[in-house]
Amino acid sequence: IMCASTKYNTRGPALIPRMKTKHRIYYITLFSIVLLGLIATGMFQFWPHSIESSSDWTVEKRSVHDVPVVKLPADSPIPERGDLSCRMHTCFDVYRCGFNPKNKIKVYIYSLKKYVDEFGASVSNTISREYNELLTAISDSEFYTDDVNRACLFVPSIDVLNQNVLRIKETAQALAQLSRWDRGTNHLLFNMLPGGPPDYNTALDVPRDRALLAGGGFSTWTYRQGYDVSIPVYSPLSAEVDLPERGPGPRRYFILSSQMALHPEYQAELEALQAENGESVLILDKCTNLSDGVRAVRKRCYKNQVFDYPQVLQESTFCVVLRGARLGQAVLSDVLQAGCVPVIIADSYILPFSEVLDWKRASVVIPEEKMPEMYSILQSIPQRQIEEMQRQARWFWEAYFRSMKAIALATLQIINDRIYPYAAISYEEWNDPPAVKWSSVSNPLFLPLIPPQSQGFTAVVLTYDRVESLFRVITEVSKVPSLSKLLVVWNNQNKNPPEDSLWPKIRVPLKVVRTAENKLSNRFFPYDEIETEAVLAIDDDIIMLTSDELQFGYEVWREFPDRLVGYPGRLHLWDHEMNKWKYESEWTNEVSMVLTGAAFYHKYFNYLYTYKMPGDIKNWVDAHMNCEDIAMNFLVANVTGKSVIKVTPRKKFKCPECTAIDGLSLDQTHMVERSECINKFASVFGTMPLKVVEHRADPVLYKDDFPEKLKSFPNIGSL
């Protein structure tokens, strides 16, 4: 703690000498003229160009029917079939991607053409609405480039989303004549409905050589792990129906099946399930007697009851997603949208984006053979987990299923992560819904390490000009066995530190660093001189701590290296009358902060304080010359989610809160200021990270009836 009296002294002289008013006006005018001039020139010179380069201006406005027609000769080459042994290191030309500081791949899209065979019959629909949306999304994304020579990945504009609406051989010929085809190297195809009768292959049948396939409905036998990307089958209902998110919790039905035209064998199994478990299982099918104008896709029936689809999905906890002729089903998207937990029954199916998404958190996968046990399996899942799965399911839909754009960008990101693995998106970023990202804590010092005692600690003393007191602190602290270095941060720019010969002679190295500006944050700077993990921050007037107390504090810190371990404790309280936080320094049974006038902590937090402090807190603290300790408490608690450790009994510290020079009034101003800090920081952090605890750490034998000389730390709590 910095004493209030010094605090005002340490503020130092005013930095800007006051100018005479007349000159000030003159300078201001001059300055504004220069500024205005600059702005004006900027506007004139660069305005039109910035408009020119914005995308709206240049986008072509044409009809799909106007695109050039390409005639494919019957004997034009056909690519090889897909090579099942392809992997990124064998079939992908990584040299096209190169190293770039943004770590983004460049994606080129071929321009749209209409392909016809020799007789002028078209090969496929020119482009579907969904594929157009997908290409638009890529074009609008950061991945896009219009320069074919700089591209790392090529996306043909030939629409192969649905294999059923295209002619396989001719589509393959169309691919082969693309200008950069080169056996399909670095080409990416999107397909959602693969295969066709009678065998329904699980991957696109169009011969495509080395091209990567983003496919919906891969089985484990056709999916080339680490090369292909498994994508969802998009459900156009996503765009059509707005299902507001429903809070997690129990629903009317436990299991619901909404798919039409299921195989009779599955149908029989589901009905058996319903017969056994009654009304909690609802098996819907198509409606037979719908009036005209009602779309069958939006209705489902059970006996005579009619239900709205997909709304009905929100009425159930679990929704069955069975395989049909294909493995990938659009219903999965509807189910996720409804926040219903999908029960996936499709052996060998590669779930969408399974390379990055942890489906165990959002779905239940049940082997087909275990269908009869479905009910008991689902019943064994704890309610809490079901609720999280419901939330997770909805989040997956929102982030990766809801639009063609989401599907396209997730696919490109996955490929991007393979090419720049060291800049890849983490598991948490892919999988944690925003609410979890917000409430969970990932401690940067997560490994349970007890640092070796031999390392010792570095004491950092922030001082302004109280040399006498400083020297006493140095002498006292140097008696602590584990002290390995002493660092004095000389915060007074107007005065030189005392000469070397005047400093106390101590057994460890003593370094003085001079600061450029008198700022409180200098105390938390990660100086290179600090070579130990442990830092003892200590004020230049804390002389009442005994060597045992400091050594014990260091031992406690070793057991809790990710926490602030300090001596005087403080508490934050909610003031119900004022409806805000209040700072408390009385004798309380709880602590939530320790003062950094004497506290051990990990050097890493210096780094965080200096470079990663949220918002304007750091500047605010420097400007107010107060509350740097509260800021540190907030920072550490926020990043680790853990409480502070207060060590040893309370002592009378020389501090503004206990012995203010001006008596009560100054004391109160100080408390008000500190309360303000807490409120300010809580609003910047967006939460109250401080944790309240009721314990403090004492030596094992503290105050025990035992000979003092046999205790490791006898001199604790003495005044």
Partner: protein, 736 residues
């Protein structure tokens, strides 16, 4: 003065304006204004008729994806069995799940044949399985089978190569085409191509192999294991080398490599290029051509100079002092180097294209290693220089976690393999990737207990939840009296007075039946009697009656006050993964006798908190009963007062942290150990020496000493402070 300044300013201003008004055009053509920006970026067109485009599929067609003419699901599955064999095996097509349904996941090892020598490593693998909780000696109840033929080294030039494996396995009646078999292999193929060839037909067996390449790896079926040396410890294993977390990393070197350079043959592409990134300062990449018999025959101009440099650096020293370590492919894809770097907290930079990384089905390697591309070797230095110091710190810690959780001993490698296979059997009861990649790791998380992170003591912070606000008191009664003694009545009163108590369970482990319900004291919380099976390990059985996260474990003789219980519980909620309690012991190494000892005397340290009065998470009951092998529980049942030591050892092995002792009133400083048996003297000392035996046997089982010492005790904030008792929340703790 002033006027001069004014003119200077005016001139300055004027010149600026001039530059911009007249020179703007030229400026624009300069550097970044010029070039492509002036041209239009050709984006994907906004078609005027885009709203008229057809859907990619008819919505109804999307919802009715059936074709009744297709094979029925059963027929399809039957067809798989015949189509997807050997190299296309998957669990669905090559594994008989029904074998695992009756008796659960049981593993059988073939009896070893006398005349069949096996290598040290394979012996360790078999020993690991036989010691595990999944082992069964009966083939008829087994789900998985392990051969006794050593298949680790399948390089036919090697001395340990076993011949005629095909013939041998065909003679095994249990072989059944390899179905439900697990085959371990470390080396396959031989010079010059080092293919994945094993020299025998594994049929439908699962292959757990080192240096697996992604092409021959059967996803979801095979398991990629790390290459380990024959000196790899059976159990326990060395700890990682990271002793401090520093930001920025304070190591002498950024990136190091020291190893062979192949001038020809497979793998030479990368090994031959590694010297290019050496800069002699923070990147040390040393290669030698001096290996093999005829190295001089192939030697090139670099060799002699390289060999000299090579000798200047010590491999171990480089490993210790570098932030990143290059782990390139050798002749095979994996190398010892990988585990060495992992242990050394030297972040592996993998240059081994097409290597299926060890346990990649469970482990997220992107959190612990940099997966480089052999083709982009020269980009590696700049790529790793761009990695942020915070990420480096996270990487380093993750290497240590993974090393310790899955790799540091043969036991761990084998058990990880088994758990990965077990997880496939019931996908709904398996570990999520989060559980595998977060401390304490997948082996210590039992999916049978729960698959929800909030149910375990380890994930409250990451999960953003907190432990339940009530506890279950669990009192063990062993005394022979048959009636209720005064101490237990007082104890029940004190416990039920706690505002945090949800229920009291009494484990009645006496010969005589428990007194009728009328004899038990009336309490505000429910009191339930559980009839024990008179085994000491019973007290840690995961009784379904325990529904709260916290368990307060008590002995009948324990004397506690309500405020002690309240305070201890509040402390436990801050440390839910640890044991928090009252009477403590401290272990030590006795150099004279060469064994571990412990003392209950007053000491300045503690490492064991007795479960006669302690809070801990109920999950530890499940770990104790289901994770520990049966042999260990039998050991504990045979020794007196060993079960609470085992519990402490277990929790310390899981958390790597000491237990927490909280304030205790003076009078019961000697609750243990004498009171447990109620006799003093000879019996007491025998009891004491048994405990010492216990500790040493446990250390032997675990392979190392897991206990960690602590020098502190947690007291209430105002404990014995000079302030009015009226202000104190726990004044009763201070009464003498």
């Amino acid at each position: 003065m002033q006027t001069r300044k004014k003119y200077i300013f005016l001139t300055f201003l004027a010149s600026w304006l001039l530059i911009f008004f007249f020179g703007g055009d030229q400026l624009r053509r300069f550097a970044f204004f010029s070039g492509r920006k002036a041209e239009a970026r050709r984006n994907w067109p906004h078609w005027t008729d885009r709203s008229l485009l057809k859907n990619f599929a008819d919505p109804e067609e999307l919802q009715r994806d059936g074709d009744p003419s297709l094979l029925s699901p059963q027929e399809r599955r039957a067809a798989w069995l015949s189509v997807y064999k050997s190299s296309r095996c998957r669990m669905e097509s090559c594994f008989d799940f029904s074998r695992c349904e009756r008796n659960g996941f049981k593993v059988f090892t073939y009896p070893r044949e006398r005349d069949q020598p096996i290598s040290e490593s394979y012996g360790k693998i078999l020993a690991s399985i036989e010691r595990s909780r999944y082992y069964t000696p009966k083939p008829e109840e087994a789900c998985l089978f392990i051969l006794s033929i050593d298949t680790l080294d399948r390089d036919h030039l090697s001395a340990q190569y076993v011949r005629d494996v095909d013939e041998k396995i065909r003679g095994f009646p249990l072989w059944n085409g390899g179905q439900n078999h697990l085959i371990f292999n470390l080396y396959s193929g031989t010079w010059p191509n080092y293919t994945g060839d094993l020299g025998f037909d594994i049929g439908q067996a699962i292959l757990a192999k080192a240096s697996f390449d992604t092409e021959s790896f059967r996803p979801g079926f095979d398991v990629s294991i790390p290459l380990f040396s024959k000196d790899h410890p059976q159990r326990g294993g060395e700890r990682g080398w990271l002793s401090q977390d520093s930001v920025p990393p304070k190591k002498k070197y950024l990136l190091v490599f020291k190893g062979k350079r192949y001038l020809t043959g497979i793998g030479s592409g990368t090994r031959n290029a590694l010297h290019h990134i050496h800069n002699g300062k923070d990147i040390i990449s040393l290669t030698t051509c001096k290996h093999g018999k005829d190295w001089e025959k192939h030697k090139d101009t670099r060799c002699d100079k390289d060999n000299v440099d090579y000798e200047k650096f010590d491999y171990q020293e480089l490993l210790h002092n570098s932030t990143f370590c290059i782990v390139p492919r050798g002749r095979r894809l994996g190398s010892f180097r990988f585990l060495e770097a992992l242990q050394a907290a030297c972040i592996p930079v993998l240059l081994s294209d097409g290597w299926e990384l060890p346990f990649a089905e469970a482990i997220d390697w992107s959190k612990a290693a940099v997966v480089g591309s052999e083709r982009l070797l020269l980009q590696i230095p700049s790529a790793i220089r761009c990695i942020h110091p915070e990420h480096v710190l996270a990487f380093q810690q993750q290497t240590q976690f993974l090393w310790d959780a899955y790799f540091s001993s043969v036991d761990k490698i084998v058990h990880t393999t088994l758990e990965i296979i077990k997880d496939r059997l019931s996908p709904h009861r398996s570990r999520s990737r989060f559980l595998w990649n977060t401390l304490p790791g997948g082996l210590l998380v039992l999916p049978n207990f729960s698959t929800h992170p909030g149910d375990f003591p380890f994930y409250y912070l990451q999960h953003g939840s907190s432990p339940s606000e009530k506890f279950t008191a669990f009192i063990r009664v062993v005394s022979q009296a048959g009636s209720l003694s005064q101490p237990i009545l007082r104890l029940i009163q004190a416990i039920s007075g706690s505002q945090y108590c949800a229920q009291i369970l009494v484990l009645w482990s006496c010969e005589k039946p428990p007194p009728p319900s009328g004899k038990w004291p009336q309490t505000t919380v429910p009191l339930t009697i559980i009839q024990g099976r008179k085994k000491l390990s019973d007290r840690f059985f995961p009784y379904t009656a325990i529904q709260t996260d916290a368990v307060l474990s008590l002995d009948e003789h324990t004397s506690l006050s309500t405020s002690e219980v309240d305070f201890a519980f509040v402390v436990w909620r801050s440390f839910p993964e640890r044991i928090v309690g009252f009477p403590a012991l401290s272990h030590f190494w006795d150099p004279e006798q060469g064994r571990w000892g412990y003392t209950s005397k007053w000491t300045n340290e503690l490492s064991i908190v007795l479960t006669a009065a302690a809070f801990y998470h109920r999950y530890y009951h499940s770990l104790f009963t289901e994770y520990l092998p049966e042999g260990l529980r039998d050991l504990v049942d045979g020794l007196s007062a060993c079960e609470d030591i085992l519990m402490n050892v277990l929790v310390a092995a899981v958390t790597k942290l000491p237990p927490i002792k909280v304030t205790q009133r003076k009078q019961h400083k000697e609750t243990v150990p004498q009171q447990v048996k109620g006799t003093a003297g000879a019996a007491g000392s025998r009891h004491f020496s048994q405990r010492q035996d216990c500790l040493n046997q446990l250390v032997d089982w675990f392979g190392y000493m897991p206990l960690v010492s602590s020098q502190l005790r947690l007291d209430p904030v105002l404990f014995k402070d000079q302030v009015s008792v009226l202000r104190k929340k726990y004044p009763r703790l201070e009464r003498p």
